[in-house]
């Protein structure tokens, strides 16, 4: 078992697998499987945000949907710890499952396709209440007004239709719907990646406030590392259907143990033109999950790969307290972290650059727009 839990654990996922069949020919015979999620184990503690990062096709969305049983799992178990005791979500069905769904909600990525255009905002938000037969019509109306207020929208908007709202407002409606049943866990599936940056910040702040107010637990799925760093308490990094690293957020950014995490951190563009670092540029693309490489799935793109990586899949195990990694060399490698990037950045700036003052007219030593950008180091060193 790769993960250990404590009494604070809300959700445990063990050896979760989700394979999609690939069918071919007239008989639609199954010729292969897409291993979208391939033996994933992790846990989420009460009240925390677990960030899940990875590139497209790594299976992060499938993890979120499978553990809500929006997709049926191929194998594995998901245990939810409620006040009434622990339940394996994959072993229940019918009425028991429906009751459990109250505790688990989801916010979708695309605010344009996740709201029914023919329903009013009030109907959309109260639908979960109707399905679970909660409250009278009047009570539901009051609840909708309360929820709209909680997500920062005018309660009068309940009578309007989704097309009357902007992307950011729609995402707020989606959040209100997820909150309607007072769930314990919300799976946020890329909730801000379809939004403009200024709106993104509004929605992130809202999610943080709601988490504090209602004691929510989030599984926050995203591909943007800076957003994940901002919102998560712990982070799980996925690559080709597997979790390759999991630990506390700062630990991940300061001391990554997996070479894929290192490359991911290094690839993120930094909005600071004064400092441009040496990037680790991964070669090639993510391999196909139908035919994953032998051994460690990351070895064809890994700069540290050795023979063993081609032959044996590394175990996902705990290296330091609460820091899990799936790499044969996590003990040996010293990987570049964000802290190193930061220090280089500082050293670079103090090395002959005046401090970047935000308000003072510091621009005088950046002479003219045309000759400044090309030789940053030489300028007044």
């Amino acid at each position: 078992m790769a993960t250990k839990e404590n009494k604070n654990t809300l959700l445990e996922v063990h050896n979760l697998k989700k394979y999609f069949p690939v069918r071919k020919g007239i008989l639609r015979r199954v010729v292969a499987h897409v291993k979208a999620v391939d033996d994933v184990s992790f846990f989420i503690n009460k009240g925390e945000t677990l960030g899940m990062v990875g590139e497209s096709g790594c299976g992060k969305t499938t993890v979120g949907r499978t553990l809500l049983r929006l997709l049926e799992p191929t194998d594995g178990s998901v245990t939810l710890h409620t006040d009434a005791g622990a339940v394996d979500l994959f072993q229940v069905g019918g009425r028991a499952l429906k009751a459990l769904r109250k505790e688990l909600q989801i916010i979708f990525q695309d605010p344009y396709s996740s709201l029914n255009p023919r329903m009013t905002v009030g109907d959309i938000i109260s639908e979960p209440l109707v399905i679970h037969k909660i409250g009278s019509a009047n009570e539901r109306e009051a609840r909708v007004a309360e929820l709209l207020e909680a997500v920062g929208l005018n309660p009068q908007y309940a009578k309007r239709y989704p097309h009357e709202f902007s992307g950011g407002q729609r995402q707020r409606i989606g959040i209100a719907r997820a909150l309607a049943l007072d769930p314990q866990l919300i799976v946020c599936d890329e909730p801000v990646s379809a939004l403009d940056v200024s709106i993104q910040a509004q929605v992130i702040n809202l999610l943080e406030d709601l988490q504090k107010e209602f004691g929510l637990t989030f599984l926050f799925i995203a591909h943007d590392l800076s957003v994940v760093r901002h919102i998560s308490d712990r982070v799980a990094v996925m690559y080709l259907g597997k979790v390759v690293e999991m630990c506390e957020t700062e630990e991940l950014f300061q001391k990554p143990l997996h070479p894929y995490t290192e490359a991911l951190l290094s690839a993120a563009p930094i909005p600071n033109p004064e400092y441009q670092m040496e990037r680790i540029i991964l070669q090639g693309d993510v391999p196909s999950p139908v035919n994953p490489p032998s051994g460690c799935y990351f070895h064809p793109r890994c700069q540290y790969a050795k023979d063993i990586c081609r032959e044996k899949a590394p175990e996902f195990k705990e290296y330091i307290d609460g820091h899990y990694s799936a790499c044969h060399f996590s003990d040996e490698l010293t990987l570049k972290s964000v802290r190193d990037i930061e220090q280089e950045q500082k050293a670079y700036q103090s090395n002959g650059q005046s401090a970047p003052a935000a308000t003072a007219p510091a621009a005088e030593e950046a002479p003219k727009s045309d000759d400044a950008p090309e030789a940053p180091a030489a300028e007044d060193a």
Binding site: S56, G168, D196, I199, A201, S226, P273
Partner: protein, 345 residues
């Protein structure tokens, strides 16, 4: 610095049944030879329409480039420029420029390639349209270009269809196609937005390398401040069809002047440094049919004054080589003798 493109007072509007949308409303900037101009802004700010105006790809009607707009293209050094707005967008001269001397790559590599032709055919088509070469030479050129953009086994890949390639590979094909006629300007409209970070890093690195190799200018349109910080020499920040700040990349990040730029920089979470609560820009972008009078950013601006509600501030030089359109800096701009228009060139 040698100018390649000079855009003066560009205004592109769309006449729809619901009213007129001034998508680009009085934009000025210059792209120098072998330099990269970054255009940054959120959706609806007019950055893509600016690029389509340069390419002569505005659908007419409903679109129209208004009288008085100028897009000066300095085709040959030392010769008078061509005003692209005066050319017939479907005419011979524009076609000799578009795709040949000024090429474009689009955001969506999935939808901008034709699925029923091999990638080789699509590149060969572009080459044969613009260059006087045989099919054999065009094919050789296509293979060479695929190799230049880092596609493995280019002589085999040239006969593959777009669906056989991954997103990053398709974007490389788009770049190969755009560069196949050796353009002087590459217009890149959100070239990495649809790609993953590790692939984005590959493509940005590739574009930088190719810029040096082919001596071209790049107009990089993006909403990602990290991407422009890495690639651009100069940056124009756009908001609701107007350039609100225009300077070199280092001044912009070191000393952002316009409240909108400051707001943008504060609202992105950082990968380094201390975590702090994000400061979002309040409200949202106004309806393009009802742009408020005065400064378009006024309803969202923390420093809004009375004058902001009445009059649009001009884009003036608030610091040396650093222009912004904001009344906050108007005194500083007026204090200096009027050298603004010449300085950024």
């Amino acid at each position: 610095m040698v100018k390649l493109i000079e855009v003066k007072n560009l205004r592109t509007s769309f006449y729809t049944e619901d009213g007129v949308v001034k998508a680009v409303d009085g934009v000025d900037f210059t792209i120098d030879r072998q330099k990269t101009l970054g255009i940054v802004g959120e959706s609806g700010c007019g950055k893509s329409i600016t690029s389509l105006s340069i390419m002569g790809l505005i659908p007419v009607p409903p679109g129209r480039i208004e009288q008085g707009s100028e897009i000066l293209y300095y085709r040959n050094e030392g010769e008078p420029p061509i005003d692209l707005t005066q050319l017939d967008a479907k005419g011979k001269e524009y076609r000799s420029i578009r795709g040949n001397e000024i090429a474009m790559i689009f955001q969506e590599p999935m939808t901008s390639l034709n699925p029923v032709y091999t990638i080789g055919n699509q590149i060969i088509e572009a080459v044969m349209l613009h260059q006087n070469v045989s099919k054999k030479e065009a094919r050789d050129r296509a293979i060479a270009m695929l190799e230049a953009v880092g596609i493995p086994l280019p002589d085999q890949r040239v006969d593959e269809y777009p669906h056989q390639l991954s997103g990053g590979m398709r974007q490389r094909v788009m770049i190969a196609m755009a560069l196949s006629c050796n353009p002087t300007l590459l217009v890149a409209d959100e070239p990495t937005t649809a790609l993953d970070v590790t692939i984005q890093a590959q493509i940005l690195e590739l574009m930088k390398g190719l810029q040096d190799k082919f001596h071209m200018s790049i107009m990089m349109i993006t909403h990602n401040l990290g991407v422009v910080a890495e690639t651009a020499d100069d940056i124009a920040v756009m908001y609701l069809g107007k350039v609100v700040e225009y300077t070199d990349v280092r001044s912009l990040f070191r000393d952002p002047l316009h409240p909108y730029t400051q707001g943008l920089l504060e609202s992105i979470p950082a990968l380094t440094g201390e975590k702090k609560r994000l400061v979002p820009i309040k409200g949202m972008v106004p309806d393009p049919f009802n742009i408020p009078p005065g400064c378009p950013f006024e309803p969202r601006c923390p420093h809004a004054m009375d004058i902001c509600r009445q009059k649009m501030p001009p884009l003036t030089e608030a610091r040396k080589g650093h222009r912004t359109a904001c009344w906050l800096y108007e005194d500083e701009a007026n204090a200096k003798p009027e050298s603004a228009p010449a300085a950024a060139e």
